[in-house]
Point group: C2
Chain length 526, copies 2
């Protein structure tokens, strides 16, 4: 087993930062965990970024096969960490073993999906317009492909210590695109981060890639993150976290001499619309499914269903009552950090204090200091529509049930929503007219629209979108999960009349990579 | 012929703004042209944006065929304006007839290309991941397509009164994507704008589309433009113009409650690298080609070659002398506006005053007050590398020739360049080693790399990129010319377990639109 010693990864060097120390905390006990982790000084961040810049040209020039093998090597190295990784992650996050093993599977699957995406090469958007020498004026030979933007800064997220962290989706998609990555580890799971960081560094060495392809730095407060985003070598940023944190990085990125894109996945209440026929024919499964989704992982999912909208009446009452009953049975679960627990407690208290909002039910208290007690609140649509504070995400297992007067008020409420990662509709065939009226509204509000399910559980697939209009993300044109996440780290380049000997393999006439290409406006699969 | 009366287009209404007047100027004579144009009041801008928002859902729901026909109708309506359009544009811009007729052809061709792009439907990125009900956990049915972002604000550019203006590339690509458009007309060609604006409004009516699909407003100073970019209904911005103007819009967009993307194509000096063998075997064609490109349209192209880099020696001297001789024969040409002429004169004077910069040649003076005298300056690479002011674009027919000591200094200079729209290399087979060393550097600097040609003349094609790293544009991930320009105005949406009856045609199992789709990771052409 790999030993933890509180180190960062700066290129090929496993080094302990000398600018102070920080420790991970066991949220179940409040105990500080060994070892102490060294904090990065400014020169450490600078060195990581400079190495990334130095590595960029040779890394992006690797073949698709080399890059795919690198991603697969990272996946295998993470698996080879074995139970030690899971045990450390459990200690640091309070998340149960099964959840973390599942998340490890997802993380590895994500790296392997991007290996496939790299081998397929669709992301290159290879396009050829042949020369038309006899046209007046003649048309030159034009060839387009997408290339990597440059070194990418990635911020580990607290709530997915594996899948959205050091070796998570942002890192995997940036590496797939051909971008070196500098990760800022999340302080809520420093040991997990060191283990995964070392696993990636080992893959860099095994694959004989330039050392700057991957680094991971540790910092407290905002200075390391801000230095990273402000560094001239960094060309794009991936972030998952709070709205406040994401917007702070956007401001740094916009204030640079050369502004860069920030892909910040920030906040979402993930509205669930319960349509009349679905409620009328429900046998109780809707309420149980909702409460299970709400309390999964102590409600610490970006796609946690924090808002449920129904049309008032006996069916809605029955659903609300069943949800309240199901929630009351839910045990308290330890949250990721004392800070998150405190924010949750504050958010719930704020909800409870809003006029017109009533508490429907509370879950069981937990035994640990960081245990979240699930909570259900309710109000009518008029209250919701006049109270902007009700739109704020409460990160954790709390949800607000809203009663509408009628279908029109439900659609009006949908129109008033802020941007969301997801919007969910529960509907039977008899609800189709209302569902069809909601659909175009929800398309403009959310990156993913789902029917007859719950939004937690984000499949890593080609068609997934984990994104959405502001403030769900800072860039509505993108997704941070699924194959299309690679598009965030690419830019198009056109080559005009390039001599054949200088053409990159993607664009050579003989198509040695066997890519699907758009040739003279026609899509040709190899 | 359509009569001009100084109007704007606000949805179906051809209305004269009542907030003051402004007139177009004949730059050749300085004369104010009839009629006076009415300026938009704040409520006019608000009405245009509100109508765009109201039109959005029904416009984006049009079929691909309906949208393609709309673009083709606009193209035909512009052609049907006949000589009146060309005559008015000549008066307002000082550009010659042949150039404007060519530009009209390009504008119409662009609208027709986007009609084809819409019919092909590749821009939808239709992707289907089939449900895997037996997997543990089961995979839901996931379907992705791209949809329009919403109403788009377009700013007409001064230097292409047709191709980058009211009915130009930004408008065509936004309408193709399914976005209503509100254009801010450029005051340098108000009559041309009114004619084209009326032609588009007529196409909206003919195609029975909702009136808000297109509006065009007129304003003086920055207030109308800033109001437009700040309006809550606007979701993206297309702009071609100065760096100062572009960055001002970016600031407004970033300062909104809901920030929106700005695609600003701003400034570029379009470096041309003359490699040793190309210069050694030149018969004078290189210099003539360069000077023709430099002085085309009074140098008023975004891709004008404002910087030429060669390795010092007798071949470079011969090229510089030939370029100077060719330039001296060039007649002065009327620039688009007195303001552009004044900026050009100031820019040339600034160049001339920089220590280490010598004037090589001047073109002929022109007869009109706004005539630009072409100019060639020269310096050595050391001067260039220590003088940041030499990197600034001088908009007009002026260029700087830079002598390098050797190949290494040429590559070093390339590394120091800011982001560019284009980078050009003149090379013969014997130059391939140096060209291969330059290529990865230039890929990071420019959106288009061309060999053995000149950068003016931007082909409207599938593989074109008219974009590039900051400050060439505000968004390096995009192009404003060519089929991919549509991508700027799209965002992905994922549909999970949507009932078949609610699925949009693009994503139905039967594939009624005959789209190429990525199905379970495999690209399938229809």
């Amino acid at each position: 087993m790999m030993a933890l010693d509180g180190s960062m990864v700066i290129g090929a060097d496993i080094v302990r930062g000398a600018a102070g120390t920080v420790r991970a905390i066991d949220p179940a006990t409040g105990a500080q965990l060994e070892p102490a982790f060294g904090l990065a000084a400014a020169q450490d961040v600078d060195r990581a970024c400079t190495l990334a810049e130095e590595a960029f040209d040779s890394y992006r020039a690797t073949t698709l096969e080399q890059r795919a093998l690198f991603l697969e090597t990272i996946a295998q190295n993470i698996l080879d960490l074995g139970p030690a990784l899971i045990e450390r992650a459990m200690q640091e996050t309070g998340l149960p073993q099964a959840r973390l093993e599942g998340e490890r599977g997802r993380t590895v699957g994500q790296l392997r999906l991007f290996a496939k995406v790299v081998r397929d090469g669709h992301f290159l958007s290879a396009t050829i317009d042949s020369a038309l020498p006899d046209r007046v004026p003649p048309r030159p030979d034009l060839r387009l492909r997408k290339i990597a933007v440059g070194p990418v800064a990635v911020f580990g997220a607290s709530n997915f210590p594996l899948a959205f962290s050091v070796g998570g989706g942002d890192t995997a998609s940036a590496l797939a695109a051909g971008c070196p990555v500098v990760v800022k580890a999340h302080n809520a799971h420093l040991g997990t981060s060191e283990l995964v960081g070392r696993a990636i560094a080992a893959a860099v060495a095994t694959c004989a890639l330039p050392q700057g392809v991957f680094s991971m730095v540790i910092g407290e407060g905002r200075s390391v993150g801000q230095q990273l985003v402000g560094h001239p070598a960094i060309t794009a940023v991936g972030f998952t976290g709070s709205r406040q944190g994401g917007l702070a990085l956007v401001r740094v990125a916009n204030g640079r001499d050369e502004p860069i894109p920030v892909y910040a996945e920030m906040s979402s209440v993930n509205p669930v619309f319960m349509l009349p026929q679905a409620l009328a024919h429900d046998n109780g499964a809707l309420a149980q499914g909702f409460v299970d989704s709400l309390t999964l992982g102590a409600g610490q999912f970006c796609t946690n269903p924090g808002l449920v909208i129904a049309i008032g009446g006996s069916d809605a009452d029955r659903f609300f009552t069943a949800a309240a009953t199901a929630l009351q049975a839910k045990p308290g679960a330890t949250m990721l950090t004392p800070g998150i627990h405190e924010a949750y407690t504050g958010g719930v208290a704020k909800l409870a204090g809003i006029e017109g909002v009533e508490r429907l039910a509370e879950g069981q208290p937990g035994s640990s200091g960081c245990a979240a007690r699930a909570a259900l609140y309710a109000c009518d649509a008029a209250t919701y529509l006049r109270t902007p504070a009700l739109e704020d995400e409460v990160f954790g297992p709390a949800s607000l049930l809203v009663r509408c007067r009628d279908e029109a008020e439900m659609v009006a409420l949908a129109r008033r929503l802020e941007g969301q990662l997801t919007a969910t509709v529960h509907a039977l065939a008899g609800d189709n007219a209302l569902a069809a009226a909601l659909l175009p509204v929800l398309e403009r509000k959310a990156g993913r629209i789902l029917f007859n399910g719950y939004p937690t559980g984000v499949e890593v697939a080609h068609a997934m979108v984990h994104g959405g209009p502001f403030p769900a993300t800072s860039d509505t044109r993108s997704t941070s999960v699924g194959a299309s996440a690679i598009d965030r780290f690419l830019r198009p380049v056109c080559y005009q009349n390039l001599p054949a000997v200088l053409l990159p393999a993607d664009l050579q006439d003989a198509n040695p990579l066997g890519l699907a290409r758009l040739k003279d406006g026609v899509l040709i699969t190899a």
